[in-house]
Amino acid sequence: MKERLEQVCQEALARLETADSMEALNEIRVAYLGKKGKLTEILKSMRDVAPEDRPKVGQLVNEARAQLEGRLDGRKRELAAKAREEQLRSETIDVTLPAKRNLVGHRHPNTIALEELERIFIGMGYEVIEGPEVEYDYYNFEALNIPANHPARDEQDTFYINKDIVLRSQTSPVQVRTMEQQKPPIRMIAPGRVFRSDEVDATHSPCFHQVEGLVIDKGITFADLKGTLQDFARELFGPETKVKFRPHHFPFTEPSAEMDVSCFKCGGKGCRMCKGSGWIEILGCGMVHPKVLRMSGIDPDEYTGFAFGIGLERITLLKYEIDDMRLLYENDDRFLRQF
């Protein structure tokens, strides 16, 4: 009996080791442990065993059963692991195949540059304000200390709608509108479209953008103007950027200046971009002219302020090294995709 048990058991274990599929394992289970299985039959033949031997034989049979079941489970796990491994191996992909990307659009480089400017000035507490693009002559000129027949009007080649209404030639009229509407302290920037009758070429466009800035408060100094614009330049062009202020003339500021930044391409050594000078002109600025303050209803004895105007396209062209302004208004997909 015992010999028979061992023999069956060995036979089953041997078959388990060679079984190579779940089905084969199942067959073995049925063949030995099933109702008509060999082990079950041995158990059934217990009645032929002497009663006093039965517990011992029963124990033997149960041990054999447990051994077989244990090994059966083990084999199942082994086969499952092997199958998983096989599956993973077969599912290997070439990860260098091309990506499937969503078609995502691109922002206009002017807007990217503008958003960067806005971010900097908003961080410094400036509000972003807009004004009309078709503007009264009064706001575009008169209130900015550019009376009728002032030569500066010729310099700007303004588009006229009639004698009182123009296409604004600068964003500076938003200064005046803001001062009329708000009480100091004022800190604002006013980005927007402006128009001048320049023929279209690589460096001119009759329609372009400026960003105006205005700060009005008690005790604002020229040093504040310098400090603010220096911080701005370093934010925009990098912390190593140097700035240079040159005296200039604008009718609506006094003193006035133009600001150059050290060339961000060559770092000031001189290159094609800065035409060898190491400096790039970036903006015009100055202390708001007392006449302008007074005309806008602000007492120049109580308040002072500074203003600046940035040519957005200039920043865009320089920052992204675009060599022809016309590209900005053609909207060629191959151009826009690069930003």
Partner: protein, 806 residues
């Protein structure tokens, strides 16, 4: 404005700086130097040579072989120049030296031309004799140069000496950008004054003496000014026994360096003084001036006048004229007349130095289309006091150069003399304004250098008349700042009350529009605000369409840019067409820009500017893709409800069966559709294209960024499928409207899962299937709840002739 360094140095004798130092320092005090040219940049090893002999070339008829003494040695030089002769002194470039250009006067190479010894037709030549063109100049500037051939130096030139020096070409010419307020700096003296102040050197202007014989000018000429506003000052002097001749070399060289061609002594003196003082002068042949009388008055309307360039000009009463006893002899401040111009046989000359109203000159010269050297100066508004100084300086030069006999005295019509003005100045205020700490004495030193006096008693600065740009204390603060140095002013940040940095709500919504468009594959475009009136035809707008009412530009760049757009589509379609022509595939663009809608025409108030969010594409995608982008945008700005689409949008430029106007809560927000094939053809877009236009001002009052969490559904949903047979003309939008209205709160969502028209469906009908999800927030729905709602929905559908499919 150009000045040679030597001319500045004539008035600032201690000036000793390199061109770059000059450029940098002047720019930092406000006289912007645009650049400079060294006239001797490419002139190397050029000396005075004397031609000792000339022999024929053995193998070339047109060449000769010269022996030239260059001081250190005698060289053999082969030349083809026709004008050489033994004994002449000539400029010779030695072996290894450099000249500026070729002998033909063509464009000059950047690095000049290197000259080396070499054979010319078999005969060695050890250098080259130079023409004026090879020396980098021209016969215009050196009128004594021969038409062709070598430039001949004066007989007394020293052999072996530096020929470049002799020719006055060791010179640097600076080019300035003078700001319009600094009229005084459109002159050599004005710039020299700034240079002296910049480098803190002494300023030594020419000493002007009043010359003249014992005669009285009033016996020669009478002057009457009829319009003192347009001519604040008129000075006249007379020179007789004119002796025309070339002006001296030094004067010719200075004029040439400024780009002015030397003509003769009288013309040159006039030009010289104009450069020196910035004061234009005019010379008349006194014998041609009828009645020896000058009258300054306005022209008659329609009057014609021949200017000295031979052209006949039509005048009007705003043009100021210089007349004699009978007729007009010149347009004041712009150009003299043909009838009184100086000719070679002039005997007696009338010199005019006047001050005309700058604005009048500017407007007249613009109207007449005549912008001359003189008008360019007058239009800036000259200092009337410089007229007297300039005319006296000219007469002094006439006497010194012996070009004629100056008659004593000056006729001077100067009704209201312009004196110095006084401006209150508080040094403390200036320091506070600039954010500096400059001692008062220092400030006064800067002022003194530019001839501003300070009155300690009244605490005022006394400003001479040539500085008409200085008007207020802030102007004086600028004078302090620029001579203290903008670079030395500290950098601080505004103190005081903090302010909130922010974007307006409108700009925030526009930012979302950009984000959504880009996530959906659209790139941002920018187009001009003005366009051609022809676009209305291209867009098929009927003749009476209100959108044809556009703001017109008076002085456009051309008809193509003459009206302000009332529709945003032309820019979009033009950009799409550009891309299509360049064979770019699947192009999707958007633009955020204004249209300009006049409230009335002609314009009496500003037009309404409405921001339009315009999308357009061709290539992959269809109407419903575009519709999806529009809804995505509305969803992101808080318009979560159902948009209504009206197919009767009435847009002539869109496909009549594929367009819709969309609205939200009854408010029209824009339209979308497929481009009408005719419009596409008009723009040259060869594929189906789709556009959407969202009117942002209509959207803004509905938009919001407030969001509230509504919880996640806890109770199970019930889904019912509705398979319907729908009359063909009924739009699914009508079904959805019923689902929303009749379904009420219990309808959580619905979606179209089948749409079919064809064989199994009877003609005139279509099969439409919706899956509707019901859910309550507070309980599990029972069949009876859903059935009640379903029956309401079904009866409403039945009214539209819709039946459930059996």
């Amino acid at each position: 404005m150009n000045t040679p360094y030597s001319w500045i140095k004539a008035y600032v004798p201690d000036l000793d700086v390199t061109p770059q130092e000059y450029t940098d320092a002047m720019t930092l005090t406000g006289t912007k130097v645009e650049g400079y040219t060294r006239l001797d940049k490419n002139l190397e090893k050029i000396v005075v040579g004397e031609i000792l002999s000339i022999d024929p070339h053995p193998d070339a008829d047109k060449l000769v072989v010269c022996r030239v003494d260059v001081g250190s040695e005698v060289l053999q030089i082969v030349t083809g120049a026709p004008n050489v002769a033994v004994g002449q002194k000539v400029p010779v470039v030695l072996d290894g030296g450099k000249v500026a250009g070729g002998h033909d006067g063509g464009p000059m190479p950047e690095d000049g031309v290197r000259i080396t010894a070499g054979k010319l037709r078999g005969v060695m030549s050890y250098g080259m004799m130079c023409s004026i063109e090879e020396l980098g100049s021209s016969r215009d500037m050196y009128p004594d140069a021969p038409e062709e051939g070598i430039y001949i130096l004066p007989e007394d030139a020293e052999v072996g000496a530096d020929a470049v020096e002799l020719l006055g070409l060791h010179e640097t010419v600076f080019e300035y950008e003078i700001t319009s307020n600094r009229v005084d700096c459109y002159s050599v003296l004005g710039i020299a004054r700034e240079a002296a102040a910049t480098f803190r050197k002494e300023f030594v202007p020419p000493e002007v003496r009043t010359v003249g014989n014992r005669e009285d000018v009033n016996d020669y000429i009478q002057v009457e000014v009829k319009d003192g506003n347009l001519c604040p000052r008129y000075c006249a002097r007379v020179v007789k026994n004119i002796r025309l001749a070339p002006s001296p070399q030094w004067m010719q060289r200075r004029l040439a360096a400024c780009g002015i061609r030397p003509i003769n002594n009288i013309v040159d003196i006039t030009n010289y003084v104009m450069e020196e003082y910035g004061q234009p002068m005019h010379a008349y042949d006194l014998d041609q001036v009828a009645g020896h009388k000058i009258v300054v008055k306005r022209a008659e309307d329609g009057q014609e006048f021949q200017t000295l360039d031979g052209q006949v000009r039509k005048l009007d009463s705003n043009v100021l004229m210089i007349c004699d006893g009978e007729k007009a002899v010149g347009i004041a401040g712009i150009m003299g007349g043909e009838n009184s111009k100086i000719t070679d046989d002039v005997h007696t000359m009338l010199f005019e130095a006047a001050c005309f109203d700058g604005t009048n000159i500017r407007l007249s010269s613009k109207r007449l289309g005549m912008r001359t050297e003189a008008s360019g100066k007058f239009e800036k508004g000259l200092d009337p006091n410089s007229a007297e100084e300039a005319i006296n300086r000219a007469c002094q030069l006439i006497e010194e150069l012996d070009c004629g006999d100056v008659v004593g005295g000056m006729v001077d019509v100067y009704t209201t003399a312009l004196g110095p003005k006084r401006i209150a100045f508080r040094p403390d205020w200036a320091n506070q304004f600039l954010g500096t700490d400059i001692p008062k004495e220092e400030m006064l030193k800067y002022f003194e250098k530019i001839q501003l006096e300070y009155d300690e008693v009244t605490e005022e600065v006394i400003v001479p008349s040539f500085r008409q740009d200085l008007e207020c204390e802030a102007d004086l603060a600028e004078e302090v700042a620029r001579f203290y140095g903008y670079d030395k002013i500290p950098t601080t940040l505004p103190r005081g009350e903090a302010t909130t940095g922010k974007l307006s709500f409108k700009l925030r919504v526009e930012e979302v529009a950009r984000d959504v468009a880009e996530y959906c594959g659209f790139s941002q475009s920018m187009t001009y605000s003005f366009e051609s009136p022809k676009v209305f035809d291209k867009l098929l707008l009927p003749a009476d369409d209100p959108k044809r009412q556009a703001v017109t530009i008076l002085n456009p760049l051309g008809e193509d840019f003459s009206i302000m757009r009332t529709l945003p589509l032309n820019g979009m379609l033009t950009s799409l067409a550009t891309n299509y022509n360049r064979r770019n595939k699947n192009v999707r663009l958007y633009e955020l820009a204004n249209v300009y809608l006049p409230k009335s025409l002609p314009l009496t108030e500003l037009p309404e500017e409405r921001m339009q969010f315009t999308l357009g594409f061709y290539g992959e995608g269809d109407f419903f893709m575009m519709k999806g982008v529009v809804e995505e945008f509305f969803d992101k700005i808080g318009l979560h409800g159902r948009m209504a689409y009206n197919p009767e949008a009435g847009k002539p430029f869109l496909h009549p069966g594929r367009q819709a106007e969309f609205s939200y809560q009854g408010q029209v927000l824009g339209y979308l559709g497929e481009l009408h094939p005719q419009t596409a053809e008009n723009y040259g877009i060869g594929e189906r294209a789709y556009v959407a236009v969202i009117d942002m001002p209509a959207v803004l009052p509905l938009a919001n960024f407030d969001r509230k969490f509504e919880g996640i559904a806890k109770f199970p949903a019930v889904t019912r499928d509705l398979s319907m047979v729908v009359p063909h003309h009924v739009r699914v939008g009508q079904i959805e409207e019923i689902l929303e209205k009749k379904g009420g709160k219990l309808v959580e969502s619905y979606h179209l899962f089948d749409l079919y028209e064809g064989a199994q469906i009877q003609a005139g009908f279509k099969s439409v299937a919706y899956s509707v999800t019901f859910r309550a927030k507070d309980r599990t729905l029972e069949d009876k709840d859903v059935n009640a709602v379903m029956s309401k929905i079904l009866s409403a559908l039945a009214e539209l002739g819709i039946e459930l499919r059996s």
